[in-house]
Symmetry: C2
């Protein structure tokens, strides 16, 4: 069906994508890939035969049981890396060394050393490396950035973001429950907030002081972080993500009851089942993968859903002459002209369209990438600094920061 | 009338209060003083003849044009210091040296040296010194503390507070517009959040990293601060107050439209009048003092008003097994038992009752003070550290912290 739709639209040049790791991350990006005619899904690699078969049937694409095999396929122009975190670097290197362009999901890598190797490989092989999958690509943030950069509200003065989510209660694989493999909220959710703050604040973080926390016995990974950061130009930001799912930030907007993943009673039941070991986590997880019942819900784009405080959280950007924050379908601009509900760039559109078009424009139209390797590495540096600051109980100065791109 | 009411209730021992500084701060505490039969207002000192005359007529009390004269009056047992910030220390010293007990409003002083002198004077003269006037005395926070200390939700793990207010748009006197006299949001509003965080977090702040901000041309004082602090036991907190009044945190609760001081249009008009110099700030301020139109509104306690995110802001206290936050008339307790709206200690009651009874119980019943001089000095130390951290762009370690009191 996606094939037919793609074929029926007159796109001069389709970019042929292979995806490695058909997990929950992939389930979130696949609907956007289907809807954007500039892309053609030609291949997938995974170690799970069930998801490969579903993928093959749905997309008529080739399937491989290893990333190495997929990267030999000359049909694949670009590789989408959505494997578990510890594979982000090695799979990116395999794809880059095979001459494929790469989009790697957040976190880019587990260490700065890995990030450096990925950047080097992209340069050596002359491929485009895009550090994707953070909410900084989303229409809310892009619109916010556009307004900030327009100067109509004066300079940016402060950024504050709160995320209270149920992240820790969602089904997890064994490797997601290992902090050494990049598990937990700081590694997994830090990039959303930090990438977004950096994009809005100009990119150059001077220092960060942070904390991490782990206090639910049913999960052996940190479910919390918070901190303060300051940009080189002095702009401050505070941020926090609590994934334990008691209070949800969605309660802070009147329409927040919509699109809740689990009810309060379900959250309590999940916690109990995690504590007493009765949860069939693999089955729950599989429901979210391609072909699973929950994946079908994610794919249902029949209507535009309102924004609710999600994994990024509620973000307030303060300028000299006004504040910006997300509304249901746009942005609230609070200024001396009152509160206006401003529509989003491109009318919103598929939430993941931003990063896909960034890849397409880079590969096909040779436009610059915003979320480059060095950009992703700078975000990773801040996330790692939060963890380091928590351990050492001191402020961490940063040294790998790069500015946000000039153009929008 | 207050006299009659007091006399009609059988309180064995009334504490005779003199108040110095009949400004807006006093207007906020006077209604509670009237309603609590344990107190008798016997004297006031101010340099404004109009407010003194109103005070004399309303309370049948003696009035003085200087604190020195009032402190000679043997009828005055305790002095409430609600003069401008720069007078907090000298007026406390005058009262203490005259043998009067003292409640000093926030901030306790402008410097730690002043705070030390106040503590020394209280010891030397054997008087009770209470560092008052912060929202940590309020029923929401006291109830929150009680639940945290009960252990029913496990240990405290994190605290986060957001205040987006119109503080900078309220009428100000000349001295309030001088940061060297303790003007601006960090000095004036910092104590609410820091005192509250310290009370909930156990008191012992290890370090703070903060920022301050000043970006509205119509006000020559900082209207913003934010930061991260960590307690000795590792519990983190983030905090922020933006007083510029574009976005208001009251929009983050469904009932937040109630009790808004200025409408959006009024806020815009105030900003404009501050910028073009047309605002009659003295007249506006006088409306809020005793006898003014707005003061009468504050005094109207005919019905209990719902809590809305006010100068303290929205506070979320996270424990191992649940989150706590303010509700309209109580506390939301989000736990595995669902969300419960728990009533407040004492049914709420007059919002300023807490500090008055703390004074009464200390002086008359010789009970310990919770908000002692050293406690107030520790809160001041954190507030000053936010300012210092903003200037020096580094984390500040603290050295004058004292633990929160054991009893409730």
């Amino acid at each position: 069906m996606a094939e037919d739709k793609n074929a029926s639209q007159s796109v001069q040049r389709q970019l042929k994508l292979g995806i490695v790791g058909i997990g929950v991350g992939a389930s979130e990006i696949l609907p956007a890939m289907e809807q954007i005619p500039e892309f053609k899904l030609v291949a997938a690699a995974d170690i799970n035969p069930r998801v490969l078969e579903t993928f093959r049937q749905r997309y008529g694409a080739k399937t491989y049981d290893s990333v190495e095999k997929m990267c030999v396929d000359p049909d694949v122009e670009a590789v989408w890396v959505s494997t578990p975190n510890k594979f982000h670097a090695p799979h990116t290197l395999i794809a880059a060394n095979a001459g494929k362009h790469v989009v790697v999901e957040k976190p880019m890598a587990i260490s700065l050393k890995e990030a450096e190797q990925m950047i080097e490989a992209s340069i050596k092989n002359k491929i485009k490396l895009l550090c994707g999958h953070t909410q900084s690509f989303g229409p809310h943030i892009r619109t916010m950035r556009k307004i900030i950069r327009s100067g109509e509200l004066g300079r940016l003065c402060a950024l504050h973001v709160w995320a209270y989510t149920d992240w820790m209660l969602r089904p997890r694989t064994a490797e997601e429950l290992d902090v050494n493999q990049g598990g937990g909220v700081p590694y997994r959710q830090g990039p959303h907030q930090i990438d977004t703050l950096r994009l809005l604040g100009g990119g150059l973080v001077r220092s960060v002081r942070g904390a991490t926390g782990q206090w639910f016995q049913g999960r052996p990974i940190p479910g919390y972080y918070s901190g303060f950061l300051e940009f080189e130009d002095g702009t401050p930001a505070t941020f926090m993500h609590n994934g334990y799912g008691y209070f949800l930030a969605s309660e802070l907007v009147p329409w927040g009851g919509q699109n809740i993943r689990y009810s309060e009673a379900e959250r309590a039941a999940i916690r109990k089942s995690l504590l007493d070991g009765t949860r069939d986590e693999n089955a729950d997880k599989d429901e979210m993968r391609i072909g699973g019942a929950q994946e079908r819900e994610v794919r249902d784009r029949s209507k535009v859903k309102p924004w609710v405080p999600n994994d990024l959280g509620i973000l307030v950007a303060t300028c000299e002459k006004g504040d910006l924050r997300q509304s249901q379908y746009g942005l609230f601009v609070h200024s001396d002209q009152g509160t206006k509900d401003v529509p989003l760039i491109g009318g919103g559109g598929p939430s993941r369209r931003g990063e896909l078009m960034e890849l397409y424009n880079a590969v096909v139209l040779d436009k610059p990438i915003r979320h480059t390797g060095p950009w992703g590495m700078a975000t990773l540096e801040v996330c790692l600094a939060i963890i380091q600051s928590a351990k050492e109980r001191k402020e961490i100065l940063l040294s790998h920061q790069v500015p946000a791109p000039e153009e929008d």
